[in-house]
């Protein structure tokens, strides 16, 4: 009798506990992980024990230090060219951070601008932009990115532009939806009758009200973009090889996986996973944190 009441009590408490975790809990661990990755990326030159692009063939395939044959000189082992895996991971963080953030911002600026214009002006402008978005979304993202990369050739800059061009449509869709409801709001009407031009209204009254949603989307897109960057690098059309991107490391290490050199792929894989997971958790928290406010206002 008492146990059943206890379990039912527990069941009653569970959802509220979960919502507490989801809504109030500050995402300390994700922020910490992202902070560490950012710190490592910024100070890569000071932190990396070896040159990430130069190895000695004498020191090929060293396992991590805690395994037999490993040495503390190469904490996470070395790859097929004798390059230090840890140093390459540290410099890879820089590539992921730079490409991830700039691509997300680039896509965000393009998508938000077009979304605002499309939603606010309406009419044929809206029709044209939204049909382009529809067509764009019908293309498989990764194949499209590979196609673009094949045309412009691999470089970090090109990757940023390609990922921006592939992912702007999601911002445009969401922002347009927000603008459609915003432009019926009374304060926009007041701006119209106060004599503001369309561009003034879009810039001063619409944009600040959609920035929240765009930031939430950006934090969620960060993970997607990092995966896309790693995938492109893995497929050989991303960051050009001597540079130590995590996707390139996965690609280089995949043959070694079959003969027991697991550290070449597991460590960069873990890094990608941690970064994507953190940015998703952060995005979830931001969404819950910012969205209800947006509706309340």
């Amino acid at each position: 009798m008492s146990t059943t009441t206890e379990t039912s009590l527990l069941a009653a408490q569970l959802p509220s506990r979960f919502s507490f975790v989801r809504s109030r809990d500050f995402p300390l661990i994700p922020l910490l992980i992202l902070g560490i990755i950012a710190f490592v990326a910024v100070f890569a030159d000071l932190l990396a024990p070896h040159d990430p692009q130069v190895g000695s063939l004498a020191a090929r395939f060293h396992p991590p230090f805690w395994l037999a044959g490993g040495s503390t000189d190469y904490l996470l082992g070395t790859d097929q060219l004798g390059r230090d895996v840890l140093s390459r991971l540290i410099f890879g963080a820089r590539v992921s951070m730079v490409v991830g953030f700039t691509a997300v911002i680039f896509a965000g600026v393009v998508g938000t601008t077009l979304g605002i214009i499309s939603g606010y002006l309406g009419g044929w402008v809206d029709q044209v932009i939204m049909r382009v978005v529809d067509a764009w979304l019908a293309l498989p993202a990764l194949s499209f990115a590979i196609f673009l990369a094949a045309i412009v050739g691999p470089s970090e800059m090109n990757i940023v532009i390609i990922l921006g061009l592939v992912f702007w449509t999601r911002y445009a869709r969401i922002v347009r939806g927000e603008v459609l409801s915003l432009k019926e709001r009374e304060f926009v009407r007041l701006a119209i009758v106060a004599g503001c031009s369309k561009w003034t209204i879009m810039r001063r009254h619409i944009l600040p009200n959609v920035v929240n949603s765009a930031i939430v989307l950006a934090s969620l897109m960060l993970g997607v973009v990092i995966i896309a960057e790693a995938s492109l690098s893995f497929l050989g059309v991303g960051v050009p090889p001597p540079k130590p991107a995590w996707g390139v490391m996965l690609s280089d290490g995949k043959q070694g996986l079959m003969v027991g050199y697991w550290w070449l792929t597991v460590f960069p894989g873990c890094c990608i996973m941690l970064m994507v997971l953190s940015s998703n958790l952060l995005g979830d928290w931001l969404r819950v944190k910012l969205d209800p406010q947006l509706r309340q206002l």
Partner: protein, 356 residues
């Protein structure tokens, strides 16, 4: 001799603009606005052949049921109509210029500067993300190109003018930190910011409780008196009309069925619809069991009857009313009415005036 000069000067001092130009501030002539569906099949005559004048410093009340075209009329004057609505005829002479003919860019310089508007829901009229000061300063910056600092100083003065206590601190606050009545007065300050000649208030008090409503109406009247601005007051509350307005226009199905000075219309309505509206106001000491209502439904604006739009609900309608729409008849003393019965009524009123 000196006496007559003195009286002439004083009369000119009261209404300077009207005396100098001797023409109405805004004159609507046969103005029509239609909502036209995408393929042009359905046409809704939201504003139909409206002729109205308003002088500087005057208050014109526009009353009518929901959907009678009051708000569309206001949007027409500012030319901020939704995409489906089109001005299909008429003129809007404002200070000697026809607003219908103006380009969009020219209209933008009129909006907020020479004609300002207070919207139906002032509570929602403020952008939640900006400080009050930024929003009051916005029209000043848009229209006069003033710097942020200058515009802010003027914003503080405007907040003082709408009786907001400690404007220096309030100006830095956001809308959610203010009460409803304060937010509304801020909307008033925004409307007054560029010293407009004409202010259009579209049911500005519907979302407020009665005490605040009264305060706000007093404030509007004071602002009007201080700045000599003309006010178009759109409402369905005849009590507010009696309190606020000099002139009244009653709208029904997009047409102005009766217009003229408030006191004359209230004393002797010329149109049966006006009469029915006045009868439906509950009064103190009234011992009727039920309020008087107007039988029937407002007509569908997309398919109006051929004759008078009010005929199906009119207690005194006769055959001609159903066949032929009455034109706006001049009843003298600044009054017009669209009713076949209005002519004898005016003659009678004239006789009675003479007798009394």
């Amino acid at each position: 001799m000196s006496n007559s000069i003195h009286s002439f000067a004083s009369s000119e001092g009261k209404r300077p603009v009207a005396a100098i130009s001797n023409r109405p501030l805004l004159e609507l002539r046969n103005l029509s606005t239609n909502y036209i569906s995408a393929r042009g099949r359905r046409v809704v005559r939201a504003v139909d052949d409206v002729t109205l004048t308003i002088n500087a410093g005057e208050t014109l009340g526009i009353v009518g049921e929901s959907g009678s075209g009051k708000s569309t009329l206001a949007l027409t004057i500012l030319r901020v109509l939704p995409p489906a609505a089109h001005i299909v005829g008429g003129q809007m002479m404002f200070e000697g210029e026809d607003l219908v003919q103006k380009s969009d860019a020219e209209m933008r310089r009129v909006r907020g500067k020479r004609i300002a508007m207070i919207l139906q829901d002032p509570m929602a009229s403020l952008n939640p993300l900006f400080t009050v000061g930024d929003q009051v300063a916005e029209p000043i910056r848009v229209h006069e190109g003033a710097s942020r600092a200058t515009a802010w100083r003027r914003a503080i003065g405007l907040l003082k003018a709408v009786r907001i206590a400690s404007p220096e601190t309030r100006v830095r606050q956001h809308p959610h930190e203010m009460s409803g009545g304060m937010r509304q007065r801020i909307v008033g300050a925004i409307a007054m910011s560029c010293e407009p000649r004409l202010l259009i208030a579209d049911e500005p008090t519907t979302s407020l409780d009665l005490t605040i409503q009264a305060q706000y109406l007093n404030l509007l009247r004071e602002l009007q008196r201080e700045h000599g601005l003309a006010l178009i007051f759109i409402t369905h509350n005849l009590g507010i009309v009696a309190k606020m307005c000099d002139q009244l226009a009653v709208m029904y199905a997009g047409r102005v069925v009766e217009s003229g000075p408030v006191s004359r219309i209230f004393n002797a309505p010329a149109h049966p619809y006006t009469e029915a509206l006045l009868n439906s106001i509950p009064r103190m000491g009234d011992n009727r069991e039920r309020l008087t209502a107007i039988e029937g439904q407002p007509p569908n604006l997309a398919s109006l009857p051929p004759g008078c739009a009010f005929a199906p609900r009119c207690p005194v309608a006769f055959d001609r009313c159903r066949a032929e729409a009455p034109p706006a008849m001049d009843l003298g003393a600044g009054r017009t009415a669209r009713c076949w019965l209005a002519v004898p009524a005016a003659a009678e009123a004239g006789l009675q005036d003479g007798a009394v």
